[in-house]
Amino acid sequence: MKGFGKLLKKDLESIKQVAIVQGVGILLWNLFFFTRVGKESPPWMVLPTLLPFVLVFFWHIMQTVQVYRHEWQLGGIYQTLTIPQPGWKIALAKLTAVMLGFVLNTILAAVGFLLTVWRAGFRELAFTYVNSLIQAITLAEFIKTTSVFALGYLMLGINIAVVIHASYNCMRLTSRFRFLLGISLFTVGWLQSLFASAGYHIFRWVPHFAIKVPFGDPLNIPQTVNVIFNSSIILGYILALALTFWLTGYLIENVLEV
């Protein structure tokens, strides 16, 4: 992975300033509500601290475009495309940079939400709920379900970045008009659905898996429902993600022109 660190550092620098502004924005927003809730606060007072989770996705999309646009705007693309580094490594550095921003902003949002919940006096309620949930579905199941949700969230972030990166590079093939990004997005989305469909057929033999998901009133003993996942759809989706990523690397190394 020689050179990956240099590429990653460069890509982190290109999104650093905006990422810091976003992080500070989340902190200030959460701090505002954190200092205004108390033990007597109504439950809706903590709801605004969920807003950063939505914003994190919008900002993620912005940063995902920015990490390429910055390079084209400043002329760095001349060096990127003439160094003897494979396209996948260049693409991976950019993906890693934006995912680091996404994960850090998500952690900031989550910590802000949890601290506000804590201060609002829901601490005992939250403990009771999680404890009774673990008793209802076992600790192993609880960890499995939580992991599946966390992975799903992370995969969603990766998928957004991979599709936008492939689309951005497709757009650069045809024209520099921004509206073509939309057409490229549509084309890459369509390609990805083809890949996923192929993956679904390839992995049909893989057994399904289930997780226990809680539902119902959190004030009462939690009830759970078995959610069954079709493994071949998930593996097909992962294959599509990998192929879309490969497409970006291929375009960078073999097709893009400056």
Binding site: G3, K6, E13, L74, G75, Y78, T82, I83, V255, E257
Partner: protein, 234 residues
Amino acid sequence: MTEQMLVQTKNLTKRFGRVLALNDVSIEIPKGIVVGLVGPNGSGKSTFLKLLAGLVRPDSGTVLINGQKVGLKTKAQVSYQPEIDQFYDWMSVGDALDYTAGLVPDWNWEKAQELLGFLNLDQGARVKHLSKGMRARLKLAVSMSREADLYLLDEPLSGIDPPSRVRIIKSLIGGYESGRHTIILSTHEVAETEGIFERVVFLEKGRVRIDESAESIRAAHGRSIQGLFEEVYE
């Protein structure tokens, strides 16, 4: 014994939309010489260099460097300096060197330090605070600090003040080892650079108009390359 060719292009053609940037260009360049690629704006100089660097791809024809098609392997042997700025504002001069050093297989820190000193570049200076002349010096320091087989320099003197030009040309001569490295330098500032050219290729509207050794041009035409340049492109 046949001379070993570093660059071979055959019937190279490249279009950008309706513009024919290069038209059926066939050139062979041996190892170890300095080639001047001259011509007015729009003659195809930059496109030719970009094709060798792998920044654009031919519509037809072939490009070989050391007998290989342009790709990752040839990029490891080619040091390309574009006409435009390629470094990021957040970088310092030292960062720009360090960044490139980590991405290429043939970086020579000793050479880099020498060039920094010769070109009066301060390692700690921020790229965004450098003047145009100093940025040009930095680009040259970065591209010439590699031990590449082939150096492609696109208009290294463009828009540069006279003191910087002299420094740039001197550092080119200093960093160049005859017989080992090959330099292709595109320029329309012929008067200042013709002294270092061993061979000169005149391009016009994407075609090769003259391709001769510098000496034979002077002998055959009885004038300097600058004189011939003015006559050809009058």
